[in-house]
Amino acid sequence: MTLDALTRAMVCIVAVAALSGCGSGPPSAAELAALKPADGRLAGLYEHSCKACHATPGSGAPLVHDHDAWAPRWAKGLPTLRDHAILGFQAMPAGGQCAVCTPTDYERLIRFMADQEDK
C-alpha cells in the first residue's frame, strides 16, 4: 500500500498541520545509525527497544537528537513523557516493548533521545 502520491496528497487534505512545521531537520542517516547512550547498559536497552523506531525516518517516532521534534514533547515535562513511555501513547507502544526497563531507565533514555542529558 505504499502509494506515495496518494498519501502525500491526502495528508494535504486531511491534515492541515502536516503542511506546516518545517524545521532544521533531523540528524543524518549516518548520525542516526551511530548515536547511542554512553552508558553501556543503557546503550543496550536503546539498541534493542528504542532504536528501531527512534532512528528510523518515517516511523512516526521523534528521531533521536531531532531537536525540533523533541522540543514540544520535552515541554510536557519528563514525568509525562516517562508515563507515556511506560503506558504507551499514540504510535508509541507501551514500554517501547522493553521487557527489562525500569522507570529510571525510561527517564534516562528519554533524556538521551531528546538530547537533554545535562538537564
Binding site: 502509494l3 498519501t7 496528497a9 491526502m10 495528508v11 487534505i13 486531511v14 523506531c53 507502544p93 507501551a94
Partner: protein, 469 residues
C-alpha cells in the same frame, strides 16, 4: 514538503471535497478518538506494567529478566517465579505473554552465531529486522519475511508468523534444528534426525514446551527484489489473484473496504540496479482512509465516490522499487492496530474474503483499515496453521482506538465456516476443543507438553485454558 504533480492532482480533487465542507469538514476529517483507557503504571506492590504493542493486554510481572547465557536461562526456568513467559516485541494480540510471575526477554541472546553452507544458526532473541542485514553481510537471506519485522525470531517461530508467497513457507518452515531450554534446567537439541517429535512440536509451540534458545535456519543467496505496488478494482484483483500467486515470488493484496479497490504488491527476483524504496507513507494513507471514514460513513456510495475520485490517478501509476529483499518485504507500521487473522484452505480464501468485505461494508462503517490477503506454502509442524496443505490468510485490522469486538461476532464466524485456523498471535475465541478439531496432532502435543512441563510453569491463564481444559 514536496508534492508531486500527481499528488497535486489528488490535492485539487480532494480539496474540493473538504473545502465544500468548510472548517467543520476539516475538523470532522481530522477527528481522532481518545486514547483508550490505560491500566495503572504500577500495581499495589510497585511492579511496573507490561502491555502488548496494541495495548489491549497487560500484566504486572514480579520478575523481569534478560539472561545473557544458556546457563543463566536454564537457572531461571528452574527457579524463577511462575508462570514464566517469554516476550519479544509484544506484537501478539492474544494473551500469550501476560504473567504475574517472570517476564523473560531474550534480547541478550541475539545475533547470528554461524553460517554453514546454506544454513544459519541464530539466537532466538534476534529481531527479524536485525537478521536481514546480519545475513546479508554474509551473502545470505531469509527466503521470506513477515509484514512487520520488529518481532524476535523466537516469538515469530512460536506463533507461526509468516509472509506471503505460494511457494514460500512460514518462518518456522525453514527451521532445520532447534535448541530448547526446558523447565528442568536442561538444554535439548532437536531436528528431523534427533528428537524428531520434539522438533515437530517445538517449531510452533507458544513458549509452552520450553524456551527456544537457538534455531538453525535454511537461507538463500541474497538477491535483489523488484517491488511493484498498484491499485486496481477489487474485482479485477480477485479474478487475477490465483495467477499472480502462481507467477510472482511474493504476491499479496489489500482489499480497501468502501472503495471497490485493492492494493496489489508483488516482489520478484531481479538483477536490476537498486532503486531504494521511499520513506514510509502507509500511515498517511491510513490517515486519509480514516478521514474518508469520518466524513462519509453516513453513505457508502458517497464514500466510495470520494475515494475513487482521490485514487483515480494511482490506479494508473504503480510504484516500484528494487533493493535487497530484507529492505522491501517488511514495512514500518507506526499506526497501531488490533488484528484478527485466519489461515484458510487456499481454495476457500477468495470466497471468504468477498464475504468479509461485504459484511464489513454492510455492518461496520467505522472500519477503514485495508484487509490483508496472503498465501503460504505448507509445512509439517504439529501446531502449524499451514500443516496439511497450502493456506490463504485473511487479516482484518482495526485502529487501536476503535472498538474491535465485532471481529468475534461478525468476522470470525465467516473465517471459521470456511475452514480457517487462527493465527496463534492474533485475535480469536477458540478453545482447546476447537483446536483439537483443527490439528491432527493436538493430543500428541498435549502429551509432550505434559512430559516436559508437568507443573505448568510455562503456562499463563490463557494457555492453561487451551492446553489443560
Amino acid at each position: 514538503m514536496k508534492v508531486s504533480r500527481r499528488a497535486a492532482l489528488f490535492a485539487a480533487g480532494a480539496g474540493a471535497v473538504v473545502v465544500g465542507a468548510g472548517a467543520v469538514g476539516v475538523s470532522v476529517a481530522e477527528y481522532d478518538p481518545p486514547e483508550p483507557a490505560a491500566p495503572p503504571a504500577t500495581d499495589a506492590s510497585g511492579h511496573i506494567v507490561w502491555r502488548n504493542w496494541s495495548g489491549i493486554r497487560h500484566s504486572y510481572p514480579k520478575s523481569r529478566v534478560a539472561p545473557a547465557s544458556e546457563d543463566e536461562l536454564a537457572h531461571i526456568l528452574k527457579t524463577g517465579p511462575a508462570p514464566i513467559r517469554a516476550v519479544g516485541a509484544g506484537h501478539s494480540f492474544m494473551p500469550l505473554v501476560p504473567t504475574d510471575g517472570t517476564l523473560l526477554s531474550l534480547d541478550a541472546l541475539a545475533g547470528v552465531t554461524a553460517v554453514d553452507g546454506d544454513e544459519a544458526t541464530v539466537w532466538a532473541g534476534t529481531r527479524l529486522g536485525d537478521l536481514g542485514p546480519a545475513l546479508a553481510s554474509r551473502g545470505r537471506a531469509m527466503a521470506n519475511l513477515p509484514d512487520i519485522n520488529k518481532q524476535s525470531l523466537g516469538g515469530a517461530l512460536g506463533t507461526a508468523t509468516h509472509g506471503t508467497g505460494k511457494h514460500l513457507r512460514a518462518i518456522h518452515g525453514d527451521v532445520t534444528a532447534l535448541r530448547l531450554a526446558t523447565v528442568d534446567g536442561n538444554i535439548v537439541d532437536c531436528s528431523k534426525d534427533k528428537n524428531p517429535d520434539l522438533f515437530d512440536a517445538a517449531r510452533v509451540s507458544l513458549g509452552s514446551l520450553g524456551i527456544v534458545v537457538q534455531a538453525r535456519l535454511k537461507t538463500i543467496p541474497s538477491r535483489r527484489l523488484h517491488r511493484r505496488v498498484w491499485l486496481e478494482p477489487f474485482e479485477e484483483t480477485l479474478a487475477a489473484a490465483e495467477q499472480r500467486w502462481a507467477t510472482h515470488r511474493n504476491f499479496e493484496f489489500y482489499a480497501v473496504p468502501f472503495t471497490g479497490l485493492a492494493a496489489n504488491i508483488t516482489h520478484d527476483e531481479t538483477d536490476e540496479p537498486a532503486r531504494p524504496r521511499g520513506p514510509e507513507t502507509d500511515s498517511q494513507f491510513l490517515e486519509a482512509l480514516k478521514a474518508l471514514r469520518n466524513l462519509f460513513s453516513f453513505s457508502n456510495p458517497v464514500r466510495r465516490a470520494a475515494a475513487r475520485l482521490l485514487l483515480a490517478s494511482s490506479e494508473a501509476n504503480p510504484e516500484e522499487a528494487v533493493d535487497d529483499g530484507w529492505k522491501l518485504l517488511s514495512t514500518e507500521r507506526p499506526v497501531r492496530f488490533n488484528e484478527m487473522e485466519f489461515h484458510l484452505p487456499a481454495n476457500a480464501q477468495l470466497a471468504a474474503l468477498r464475504e468479509v468485505v461485504e459484511t464489513i461494508e454492510r455492518e461496520r462503517h467505522d472500519v477503514f483499515f485495508p484487509i490483508e490477503t496472503r498465501r503460504i506454502a505448507p509445512d509439517d509442524a504439529w501446531l502449524s496453521p499451514f500443516q496439511g496443505g497450502p493456506r490463504g490468510s485473511i487479516a482484518v485490522h482495526t485502529y487501536y482506538k476503535d472498538e474491535y469486538e465485532f471481529l468475534f461476532q461478525l468476522i470470525e464466524p465467516i473465517l471459521r465456516r470456511h475452514g480457517g485456523r487462527p493465527h496463534w498471535g492474533k485475535l480469536n475465541s477458540l478453545k482447546g476443543a476447537d483446536f483439537a478439531a483443527l490439528y491432527p496432532r493436538w493430543k500428541d502435543f498435549l502429551a509432550l507438553r505434559r512430559s516436559l512441563d508437568p507443573d505448568g510453569r510455562l503456562l499463563n491463564d490463557y494457555l492453561k485454558g487451551i492446553f489443560l481444559a
